[in-house]
Symmetry: C2
Subunit: 136 residues, 2 copies
Amino acid sequence: MARQYHTKGKEVLLTYFMGSTGKRFCAKDVLDYLNDCEISMNQATVYRNLEKLTEEGKLLKTKNPSDDTGYYQYVGDGSCCREHLHIQCKVCGKIVHLEGPVMDSFNDYVQNKLNFVLEPKESVLIGKCPDCIDKE
Amino acid sequence: MARQYHTKGKEVLLTYFMGSTGKRFCAKDVLDYLNDCEISMNQATVYRNLEKLTEEGKLLKTKNPSDDTGYYQYVGDGSCCREHLHIQCKVCGKIVHLEGPVMDSFNDYVQNKLNFVLEPKESVLIGKCPDCIDKE
DNA sequence: AAAAATTTGCAAATCATTCGCAAAAGTCAT
DNA sequence: ATGACTTTTGCGAATGATTTGCAAATTTTT
């Protein structure tokens, strides 16, 4: 199945994301950036590369509750993001990972007490992050 | 500003949602249902009514992270408590309340470690319930 | 029943994202 | 590096959920 080729395109995107500590960008942000740098990459290609980098576990893709736009953030080679829950700020969209001993017992409770199989990818915890609370 | 009229349309939708214990439906589900019942309601009207019922607090609108479709579920009679989290079966729609000591430490972790304010009524945990797992 | 306000149907528009397909570029064995 | 093979790219058009503009229909108020 689908070997990965090393292309200039993916490299440019990855560098862009890695250079900006965990910040979230949508496809349009990337397109605008490329345009500013006079790097030419088609819109479909941008989407395809974002998807590939997401599959490779380098980017995390999320959506704000309020719109349909996909946002991507660099999460290194964190293969972790697939299995655990996240909480998202309803104001700024920031994603925080939920892990650690508390979450272990949470998962244990859900799986072994309630006998539910949790689907982290379909689940969304919504809240307000400290930064956005401060700004109010 | 914008008083609410009582219309047949909204009533039909509300009845549909109330009749099916908290299960999640998207606009297309509603449209299909209306079509089966030979009730005629335009797609734009369905969307407008879903939005109005959501504004009125009768429906909760959520989106799965993995797709762009909006899902609605009835929460208007307060049967779906607003102060704590729930997990819902993606197959049958059953809702289970999450409470107890494990959830207390979960809430403590989110509020005092991460400093997030969780919004339980906007958050949805999705999974599969034991009954539906057995049936597979 | 008339006037005022809101809701409806319809078709077209939006907007992010995806598709089909031929051309271009990356990879590998020779 | 040459050719064979595979994956990626660009392009324009298509998709799919949702929204919009507007005139007609319905509901509420007077």
